[in-house]
Symmetry: C2
Subunit: 350 residues, 2 copies
DNA sequence: AATCTACATGGTAACGTTACCATAATATCA
DNA sequence: TGATATTATGGTAACGTTACCATGTAGATT
């Protein structure tokens, strides 16, 4: 494989001059430019970014660590990240943790070995250790979607609490009193915030007993929680105890809920209302009908990346001065899209 | 950031000795081992893989270039790749071309700059230039899913022709005579092969006129082709010309077809039968009912990776001898899963 | 005529690691 | 007892690039 030395020799210049032409940095006469370019062409020279990065102390690579690439919400976030990054000349490495702490830590180790310039992290669990590791290695970090208890850091997230509050209010407004929330894992701030928003609305409405189910942000968990919600009522022997509305706290949980309701012969929205956080994948629904709270996923990715990039610049310019800058928290609004999955509750048939 | 020199100094050994401990290569006394490990711990040392790779001429990185990460078929392939790779100590970089030649070439350039050890490529179009580029750079390559005209290369793919033949036979066996295939882009071998298999079955059955629609492997294209197939019949003014069955040649086309049929009020399978290549994402269907030809996606990814890894070994061991090894073509079988989307055709109401 | 600036090119060293070779002590063997 | 492995450690150079500094020319400015 040809090196820049070969190129330089063939063009009859010094390596550093070839470098200047290739990177369009510094001066070079038009004549030299052409000779170098021709040599590059002729030898099929491709710069070695390992050597480049080793010398220049930057890799032009960012990492996005998220929990589930399968989920279109994250796919959209990723697109926002990629667009913003590539616009600034950065590449992005995507890593998938499946919500597993251990996978996350393996990836972090790998990424730091590769000396990525910055990390965007959707933390798998509230495990502060990983963040300390990144801090220790002096790699700029921006959190996405989830706060971490006791950790101050730059973060871009959505107003989960507010969105959940609004969505619950919507259900309450249609007359529902027995609303069950099917939520994500405790300790994940976005899950906790949605439960909090739900509870606020429920308590404000003077309903004494919230109905909270906690599981994972997955289809199967959504299925199980729905069965549990339906079954709890059956167990008590009185259908009047069944929730008249479900609040799925993410899109996958909503899909699981739909499956469970279908399997149980419960029609939406005729027999039961359903609302969800996050829109469903276009592929999922033959026809969208679910009333949802939508997060600006693309924008989340974009803004997080921009924040990270400014941090990189900060770090580069103020390499000597170790002024402790305050962290930034960007909270994006959530929009409610009303469709046709909510109706006033049926008068229960006892 | 600490270097191996710092570690060595703190442990009171030479850098090379520290290196040996860290990589568990070569000899080192237990006592030295401990001292080095402690120094690593104390300094928070993380090896610099840029320097490592620059020196050792291997990055332990593979690249998987595919056309649509959004499609669960490819997600599954990717998982197969990742599992096989990580088992051998390799990392995988995933790149998404969206079927765009230009994006593919940009990624290839980037990957070769990063000196990935090998490339798994789902070629976006039959553009031989890209492959020549990779060859010229001496990077081992395995194609996935799609042959390229006039290019000899290692490849792992499925028996698209045979699978399409079987699926078409299945439709024929139920009495269908007017079967339309909704296919992918011409020039993409898997698309062409499926059309070929379909044609073979159609012609064998003595049907003079195949009904072929060609588009993209996307939901919207599936939607459009379905409208065209239904509309062609409408245009001719005779419903008897409408196909009684559709053959969607991948999962996304099938989803588009389902949407279009739903929007047109055509019930599946009561009014029209539908069969598809690739299973639909679990998320898509509340309840799976589509009869499909399933490719062993995970296995494809796994085997392609293993083939690539053996090529790496070959290249490493026979660095001097330039014996031209013959290329390998691995063709995996396709399985038919019968569900409930096919019925004998209705007697057409004229 | 002296000074300055923009342009053009090159030399040397360094980034952090490991390949390769060398040395030496101890253990094993015939 | 000498020869041969095995174990343990280190020195030097090189991987391919660019940062940093130096040099020189030509034209512009005083």
């Amino acid at each position: 494989m040809a090196t820049i030395r070969d190129v330089a020799k063939l063009a009859g210049v010094a390596p550093i001059t070839a470098s200047r032409v290739i990177n369009t940095s510094g001066y070079a006469s038009e004549e030299v430019r052409q000779r170098v370019r021709q040599a590059v062409e002729q030898l099929g020279y491709v710069p070695n970014s390992l050597a480049r990065s080793l010398r220049s102390h930057q890799t032009l690579m960012l990492a996005l660590i998220l929990t589930d690439v399968t989920n279109p919400f994250w796919t959209t976030v990723a697109r926002g990240v990629e667009d913003a990054a590539s616009q600034a000349g950065f590449n992005v490495i995507f890593c998938n943790t499946d919500e597993a702490q251990e996978k996350q830590d393996r990836y972090l180790e790998m990424l730091i070995q590769k000396r990525v310039d910055g990390i965007l992290l959707v933390p798998a669990r509230s495990h502060a250790q990983s963040i300390r590791f990144i801090r220790q290695q002096n790699v700029p970090l921006v959190l996405l979607d989830r706060r971490l208890l006791g950790i101050d850091a730059d973060i871009v997230r959505c107003d989960s609490e507010g969105g959940a509050y609004q969505l619950t209010r919507l259900l309450l407004g249609r007359g529902h009193r027995r609303i069950a929330i099917l939520s994500g894992p405790p300790g994940v701030s976005s899950a906790d915030d949605r439960v909090a928003g739900y509870c606020r609305a429920i308590l404000e409405a003077g309903i004494p007993q919230p109905l909270i189910y906690r599981g994972e942000f997955t289809i199967s968990s959504g299925y199980q929680m729905t069965c549990a919600a339906l079954g709890a009522a059956a167990g008590s022997g009185r259908a009047v105890n069944a929730p008249s509305a479900l609040f799925a706290s993410n899109n996958f949980i909503a899909i699981g809920a739909l499956k469970a309701l279908h399997d149980s012969g419960v029609a939406v929205p005729d027999a039961l209302s359903l609302a969800a956080f996050d829109d469903l994948p276009a592929a999922t629904m033959i026809e969208p009908f679910l009333t949802v709270a939508v997060q600006p996923a693309y924008e989340m990715g974009r803004q997080a990346t921009q924040l990270l990039l400014t941090r990189l610049n900060d770090a580069a310019s103020a390499a000597n001065t170790s002024v402790h800058r305050s962290f930034q928290e960007i909270i994006l609004p959530v929009a409610i899209i009303e469709r046709r999955s909510i109706r006033p509750p049926q008068i229960p048939v006892v």
